[in-house]
């Protein structure tokens, strides 16, 4: 087992190289001079632009730029962004906030999604099942900017249950409302995945056996149906954590959360290569590690799955 984990962790190296190379090249290929764009309608003399381009190594060919980036990474120096701020500092500010938000959203969607999904799966076609179907449709068809806006207005302003925006006060409590909005779309996925596998497993032989053994219904549901239904759900949740961390642009915008999603979006708009690559590298690490955890969970959920061959 230890060898398996080590082998998986070693795979981080090629993934890191592949990702950084790809992302760096994509940013490199984007049209538009990012330095000139910093000045808006009023352009400074070309010498200012050219000197700044040289400062950020943007005048170098692609391989030189990428080489400098790699060299810097291995000396733990991420460089500065176009606002002259050290990238390491701004990531150190953004990631904890986003991690809190993502974890909270993950917990919310996992708890509600699985609970509702089990209920709906056990009573297919009944009222509860149809109700949650409608809910998941609404969640998918109404875009986040609307849901977020409505939640903010209702719970933040009218009812006053939560602060409408987060801003500088990012803590677990203040992030609850945005985490709820963020988790909604994935909640629909978790719910429907759980429902599908639960209803499938209800008729499985081992469930009949367990019921025949005289086990109580809650125990059959928890220990047999649920445990065997969780593999797709766990896969989804694992893959989703990374998405929640990098893709929460809209939610972070609505609730004014100074997180990674906004940083990334802004950096893409500015073609700020080093920032984009740094953020994506961290996200890739998150993916690789959560995927490893998910695979280890498989073996726990289903003892037939083994990795040691």
């Amino acid at each position: 087992m230890v060898r398996y984990i080590l082998r998986r962790l070693l795979q981080v190296i090629p993934v890191f190289l592949g990702t950084t190379l790809l992302v760096y090249y994509m940013v490199f290929a984007l049209p538009g001079d990012p330095i000139a764009a910093l000045f808006g309608e009023r352009q400074p003399p070309q010498s200012v632009i050219d000197t700044l381009r040289a400062q950020y190594n943007l005048d170098q060919p692609f391989w030189v730029q990428y080489g400098i980036f790699l060299k810097n990474i291995f000396t733990f120096n991420l460089g500065v962004d176009f606002t002259q701020q050290p990238i390491a500092d701004s990531l150190a500010r953004a990631f904890p906030v986003t991690a809190m938000l993502a974890i909270e959203a993950l917990i919310i969607q996992a708890v509600f999604g699985i609970a509702f999904g089990v209920f709906a799966g056990l009573r297919r076609g009944k009222l509860f099942d149809s109700t949650v179907l409608i809910v998941s449709l609404v969640v998918i068809a109404v875009p986040t900017f609307v849901l977020g806006f409505v939640f903010q207005l209702v719970f933040g302003v009218q009812l006053g249950w939560a602060k409408p925006t987060v801003g500088a006060n990012a803590d677990w409590g203040n992030l609850l409302l945005p985490a709820f909005v963020l988790g909604l779309v994935s909640f629909a996925y978790v719910l429907r995945l759980t429902r599908a596998t639960v209803s499938e497993n209800m008729n499985a032989d081992y469930v009949r056996t367990a019921t025949a053994k005289g086990l109580s219904r809650p125990r059959v549901i928890m220990a047999h149906i649920l445990r065997n239904s969780l593999i797709p759900v766990v896969t989804y949740l694992g893959a989703n954590l990374g998405g929640l961390m990098g893709g929460a642009i809209v939610t972070e915008g609505i609730f004014n959360i100074p997180g990674v999603g906004n940083k990334l979006f802004q950096a893409i708009q500015r073609s700020e290569g080093p920032t984009i690559v740094a953020i994506v590298s961290v996200l890739v690490l998150v993916f690789v590690i959560t995927n490893l955890l998910v695979d280890l969970l498989y073996a726990w959920l289903d003892p037939r799955i083994r990795y040691d061959q």
């Binding site: 764009a37 010498s47 903010q152 933040g156 409408p164 801003g167 609730f255 100074p258 708009q269 073609s271």
Partner: protein
């Protein structure tokens, strides 16, 4: 805002009427209000992360600019209407518009105790202009003699034909700038410029303490100034979150703070700021989400204001587009202009936060007039538009293989009005037209610089200093810095130059407006509208107001 101004006027009229009939009880609430203000309370305001370290000559965007303007005070300051008043300057004199003598008030100090003398200004300006210091606003000194030497560049051409220019100044200081004694600055310009002193209130001309010149980057994180406010403490700029300013008790200029301080809270989107204001969690904002333009006067009854500012929008028609060249092109440009219903768009899309344009500058400027000959081309007239288009069609057929695209970046809330303008072209001229959206501003800029915008492009200008020239020279002058579509008319340039060389501002403005007649003749761009900046404020403050350039006068806000 027209509405609130009327209601205030009605209120005043009512009080006068009451007083006249001897029932003097009505005025009480007003005095109570002012008695309840707290001059030491800190207010909070909408902002975003500044792009650069906070050095005045390096700050060329709004979010850094508003902080710098509160931290520093220059030789002059602009009052709410845009009129320059002397601040640190005792007097500014010139005989010939070319040689200027500025007397600096004695006794002024930075908040670290350093005295501000004539030499402080000379050093600061030389620092800002020297090209190796890479100050974004360095070009503001280009009219001073010797600027060419401090800004000289070395141009190299790489093997692939790419040109690179590097700063290679041949002098460290500008020859036309000198401090003859502690209180006197003499400035010699390259050529006479009547409105030169107007720009002395712009942030590029602010004085800097010596520590700024020694280590600009470190200084920019914790700037020390001489303005109405100062940093609350070392590290008051919490990146990505806020900047906290407190009142500078030693300040004695025209912009004395009426509150205890301003905390600029950073928002990446105006929507949440609007929500925060509705909950009184934020005190004032000057950026409204576009979907609130129709609701802000009801959401913030008696707590909003909408005032014209020095900011306009145009739709540029690149001269390199074959559809708009020659005699036929001229008719088509006029047809496009007649096909835009400016009144309806400013009403329906902008709900009165824009005013239809009547010329190429802005109404708040000294010298503005709405009766420049030729400006009837800005009137909406569908029949005329159709006629002109048909006439052009006879001269040279229109290439309709591609829809007429209007290029714009998508992150600025421009889509709604561009859609409306494009629909106007479709309905009134019978041509296909649509927005050409770009996710990145850099891309549009690149296309504009390389002269390859396929259709039209939107443009706009926000005044740096209140002068007609600032709206004409940098935008439409031959080879000017922001003239990306490379419009060029020697006659226009000549009139601008004559205007700059005039003895009085009135003479100058007459020349500038004459130059605008040429613009109306050529129509290199279609003036669209002027901005009326809407702002709203919370229940925690008495009121708020904007200055000539649309910036909120933070120092004037009284907290309750």
């Amino acid at each position: 805002m027209r509405f609130s101004r009327t209601s205030k006027a009605l209120g005043v009229a009512a009080i006068i009427a009451l007083a006249a009939t001897g029932c003097g009880g009505g005025g009480g609430s007003d005095t109570n209000n002012s008695a309840a203000t707290d001059p030491n309370k800190v207010i909070s305001a909408y902002s975003n992360e500044p792009q650069n370290p906070l050095l005045p000559a390096n700050t060329n965007e709004v979010y850094g600019g508003r902080v710098v303007e509160l931290l520093f005070e220059g030789l002059r300051a602009y009052d709410a209407s845009g009129k320059p008043v002397n601040a640190l300057a005792e007097s500014i004199e010139t005989e010939d518009s070319q040689n200027w003598t500025i007397k600096v008030k004695s006794g002024a100090k930075f908040t670290n105790g350093e005295a501000i003398t004539a030499k402080t200004f000379v050093d600061s300006w030389n620092f800002a202009a020297l090209s190796t210091n890479l100050q974004n606003n360095g070009y503001f000194f280009d009219s001073i003699e010797g600027y060419a030497d401090v800004s000289a560049v070395n141009e190299t051409t790489a093997a692939d034909g790419k040109k690179t220019s590097t700063p290679a100044p041949t002098a460290q200081t500008m020859s036309g700038l000198a401090a003859t004694d502690d209180q006197t600055i003499t400035v010699k310009l390259v050529q006479p410029e009547a409105d030169w002193s107007l720009r002395l209130g712009y942030s590029a001309f602010y004085p800097l303490p010596s520590e700024a010149l020694a280590d600009p980057k470190k200084f920019g994180e914790n700037p020390v100034g001489n303005g109405p406010y100062k940093f609350e403490k070392e590290g008051a700029w919490v990146h990505d979150q806020q900047i906290s300013l407190v009142k500078n008790a030693d300040y004695s200029g025209p912009r004395a703070a009426k509150n205890g301080g301003v905390t600029f809270k950073f928002y990446t989107d105006p929507g949440p700021a609007y929500t925060d204001l509705q909950g009184d969690n934020l005190d004032v904002t000057d950026v409204l989400p576009s979907n609130a333009l129709k609701t802000y006067t009801t959401d913030f009854q008696d707590r909003n204001s909408t005032k014209p500012v020095a900011n306009n929008s145009t739709l540029n028609i690149p001269g390199y587009n074959p559809n708009f060249q020659g005699e036929a092109g001229k008719l088509r440009r006029q047809a496009l202009s007649h096909a835009i219903n400016r009144d309806e768009i400013t009403k329906v899309i902008f709900n009165g936060t824009r005013t239809p344009a009547t010329e190429f500058t802005a109404p708040v400027l000294d010298g503005y007039t709405d009766s420049i000959p030729g400006n009837d081309v800005l009137k909406f007239d569908a029949t005329k538009a159709k006629e002109l288009w048909a006439e052009a069609e006879k001269l040279q057929p229109y290439d309709a293989s591609k829809p007429l695209q209007i290029a714009s970046n998508t992150d600025g809330g421009n889509k709604e009005w561009i859609d409306a303008v494009a629909n106007g072209f479709k309905n009134n001229l019978g041509i296909e037209s649509e927005i050409q959206p770009f996710a990145k501003f850099a891309e549009v800029l690149d296309l504009r610089k390389s002269q390859s915008i396929p259709g039209l492009t939107r443009a706009g200008w926000q005044g740096d200093y209140p002068s007609l020239y600032n709206f004409l020279g940098p935008v439409w002058g031959t080879n000017a810095s922001s003239n990306y579509e490379k419009y060029s008319n020697p006659e226009f340039d000549k009139l601008l130059k004559e205007g700059l060389g005039s003895k009085t501002p009135e003479e100058a403005n007459a020349k500038f407006n004459q130059a605008q007649e040429i613009l109306f003749e050529d129509l290199p761009g279609l003036p669209l509208w002027y901005l009326n900046r809407p702002i709203v404020w919370s229940n925690n403050v008495v009121s708020a107001d904007t200055g000539w350039n649309g910036g909120i006068l933070y120092y004037n806000i009284e907290a309750k």
